[in-house]
Symmetry: C2
Subunit: 244 residues, 2 copies
């Protein structure tokens, strides 16, 4: 009959772990020798190996304890469930690994490939890196918050930018960043953008506003904070559009 330390070394767990399993009723307390030391037999070691196999599979100790008093039927059923959970966890870890790779590659999380392509187009069309980064942030948020509507919203935006005249307006918006807040070109640009927006969305609700609820507002606030010219431009455009 061996001591707790030997048993622990055999099975490859700590002494503490064994004592915890006793305390939680996973492994019955064995008899003690005359000096009060726990003494274990082979069946304890076998039990402990079973417990560790389940624990390594992520089964909570309480469930392992309950399984001790289960019928063979129930036990097999439980094993199947645990196996399925394990499979799911493996898939989950692989998905996380994929996200990790994208984080490493710079575009920090799951954006559909077409969005990445679009962002590269922006750079080619000579939008500033600042603008491209803001757009990336925006799409990440939109896809995180409204994965269902994000694709449609994105397609609308990509279409808009495919039109050279409309693209010009966005480029001007981009470059307005460094103007003085009271530059008259801002008033002109606001008028032109409001006009184009009304033209493009003859109905009164452009998809950006209703679809992604307040995420664009969130982005817009951040955007505005980086340039007083942009802030004024935003205010002017809203005023134009509100005036029907």
């Amino acid at each position: 009959m061996i001591t707790i330390g030997r048993l622990a070394r055999y099975v490859g767990v700590s002494i503490k772990t064994i004592r915890v399993y006793h305390a939680k009723g996973l492994l019955p307390e064995p008899d003690r020798d005359t000096s009060g030391y726990r003494r274990y037999g082979a069946d304890d070691a076998v039990d402990l190996i079973k417990i560790r196999t389940l624990a390594d599979a992520g089964v909570p100790l309480a469930r392992i304890r309950d399984l001790r008093s289960a019928t063979d039927e129930e036990f097999q059923q439980a094993l199947r469930e645990i196996d399925d959970e394990l499979t799911d966890r493996i898939h989950g870890l692989r998905a996380t690994q994929g996200r990790l790779h994208r984080l490493a590659a710079g575009h920090l999380t799951l954006l559909p490939a077409e969005v990445d392509a679009h962002l590269e187009n922006l750079a080619r069309w000579e939008f500033t890196p600042r603008w491209v980064d803001l757009q990336r942030d925006l799409w990440i948020l939109v896809f995180a918050a409204h994965p269902d509507r994000a694709t449609a919203l994105f397609h609308d935006q990509a279409e808009t930018l495919a039109d050279p005249a409309l693209r010009r307006l966005f480029l001007d918006y981009d470059h307005a960043h460094d103007l003085d807040a009271d530059d008259p070109r801002i008033d002109d640009l606001a008028r032109r953008i409001a006009e184009a927006t009304r033209e493009r969305y003859e109905s009164d609700d452009p998809p950006e506003l209703d679809a992604a609820s307040d995420i664009p507002a969130l982005i817009q606030d951040t955007v505005n904070a980086s340039s007083s010219a942009w802030q004024r431009l935003d205010t002017l455009i809203r005023a134009h559009l509100a005036r029907r």
Copy 2:
């Protein structure tokens, strides 16, 4: 600027989680509005998504915090390490899954296929199920405790049982279980076993005794506990062998 609840829903975490990240320095505390509510911007959301990607990969929060102040070089290096750890974890989970399958199949943990085959042979040779189970326990322990020596030890034992005359002795041992402790056949059997053992291992140390250290003793104690006849048989054999 959005509230904590909105941010939480966007990113798919609980409010509590965000507050914990603030408390642990993972995510800087944002400014408060007039009523003391935290108000977040888009960059907070992007940061939070990054944090969650790492946390989902199992990176401890303290390490994520430290990574916030790392150079790009260090960050990429860390990502590679995390990726490797993830790969290891996936492999580990698959190994656990394999052990789980064997547990489900009855032979409760990793026994080499040849040991399983051997145990089936025992049943065919008409050893009792009780004996086969004891042998299974023994080999599980031996392979768990001394994987390096277990194979050689096992081959020795398998060889021994391949000899019909020696096998006869083990069968007699098995069936002695139900004899009275003072049955004279036990004395006879003990003598024959001691003789055969000496014959087989002309040197004085049979591999069982030195190789697997005290595991056989562990098994033997358990074995003896189940039958006073076995207990006496064991004592007699030891006495015979000790007398050179």
